[in-house]
Amino acid sequence: MEYAIEIDNLTKKFDNYVAVNSISFKIPKGKIFGFLGPNGSGKSTTIRMLCGVLTPTSGTGTVMGYDILRNPEKVKQNLGYMSQRFSLYDDLTVEENLDFYAGVYGLNRKVRDERKEELIFMASLNGKEKTLAKNLSGGWKQRLALGCALIHKPKLLVLDEPTAGVDPVSRRIFWEIIHKLATQGITILVTTHYMDEAESCDMIGFIFNGNLIGEIAAPSDIIAHANSKDLEDVFIKYVEEINGIKVSSFGDMKFLNE
């Protein structure tokens, strides 16, 4: 099987603090991989190492066949990235934001215009081309940010908490798009706090205090193996096993320390 992402014993230390502790996983092409964990668990650090903007302390990894240590620029050319901050230029219009990223990824005019049309349609931004990004509401902004991340037709899409702070309807529309992209063969790595979103992923992994916990598998398999009623239940069990503390919900985990 071909893998979009393969990481092996990836570790990141900041001084003495271990943010990510020897994580390994493989994500097959065309799958939606849900990366779960409370705030500060090491999700974003892992993602940044994968995107080539943070150098691992130790360990190796390849993204779309390119080594993240030796070839970070190739990695960057081949992935689309979107963060929860929706890194848009507020003072540029919808179209100008797309044009800018098209230029950054070296698209020619013809490809750019075609691609722009597709993405504006995908994000239902028709008629808003000349609207400044700052005047868009949360859901539109989110889909424009996704459009910018997809402008160069990457085969891998990395989404860092893309639905944080977005209303439920926009969240649903967003996930419909994500699933559509996956059927086109795009691999998606997405981090989330929402269990309903996690359950709709093809496979999930759970990170806690920098460690990968349990198996990486389809949500239904994980639930079945753990004899639990849902994903949240599974993770609460995991964490309680490790810490020996009673946890009432996934949301509470962020307050736990080792």
Partner: protein, 379 residues
Amino acid sequence: MGFNLQRFFAIVKKEFIQMRRDPIALRLPIAMPIMMMLLFGYAVNTEVDDIRTAIFDQSRTQESREYIDKFEASNYFEVTDYVLSDKEMANLIDKGKIKAGLVIPANYAEDISKGKTPETLLVIDGTDPTTARTAMSSGVLVNEIYSTEFKKKMLKEKGLSFLDMPGVKINTKVFYNPNLESNKFTIPGLVGIILQNITIMLTAFALVREKERGTIEQLMVSPIRPVELILGKLIPYIFIGYAGFLFALAICIFWFGIWPVGSIPLLLVLGFLFVVCSLAIGMLISTFANNQMQAMMFIILVILPSILLSGYIFPREAMPTAINWVGYAIPVTYFLNIIRGIVSKGVGLEYIWQDVVALMIFGVVILTIAVLRFRKSLD
């Protein structure tokens, strides 16, 4: 590591659009040089005249009146008060109402008529040495001239001529600025200083804004190269900065009437070089600062020494060697030599080429450091 023109132009275009959408960012660099030139052009004046002076005339005679008139006629002294006691005069100096006082003794006219030399007293407030020095030297000068004239008159009455006596007469010739107008020195310098301050500020916020908005993260995961980003961001500001330079220069020429003696095209070319150099300093600050607050502090860190140590206000010849050397590390030092050289002295490239080379080296080195410092990683 190639340089991709398309990515570079994407940045340039984006910066131009953002600049256009921000009316303040667009107008300030034009409005500021005009405002500052007009304001500081008058403020930065080392010539002291109309020193407020009080007179304590105890003689109250035709002769003492004549003496006082000579002081007033010199234009250095402006008689604002007549006092009736030393105490009253001291009081006015304490309050800061006057900077000098002239005391004429009661026996002034009497002494003259008896052929004695009367002694007057010029009291000076030494708080501000510049004013005090002017008051002292012009006071002495006025007195000298008056007493010489006086002696001539006396000699003539006795049938002798002053011209029969031998002596030495010194002739002076002042180059470049014969009337020693301080404007001709300070205003061109002001163009350089104002230009530097504005341009540094323009670029100092360039990357900081991206850091604050989080868009820098998106750029880091893109294939864009630091050199494309830094230069791409620089280009639009060159236009704005250069427009600021033209406005400042126009005010120097048309408002203050200081027409460059030397080549204007040369000045325009070297002004461009200096704009780029200053923008590079701002860009470097932008790579260090994580937010606008930090950027502001770095700007002050750069601007203050450049005003005080570049020779703009205080002559660098008067500084201790170590401090003088610090001045060499400040690009505006070289530009001041250039602009003063061209505007006041009218010299050509052959006299200022060393300053030009220094500015070029500064520009290239600073930009290189900025590019190297902006690594595309968050480590």
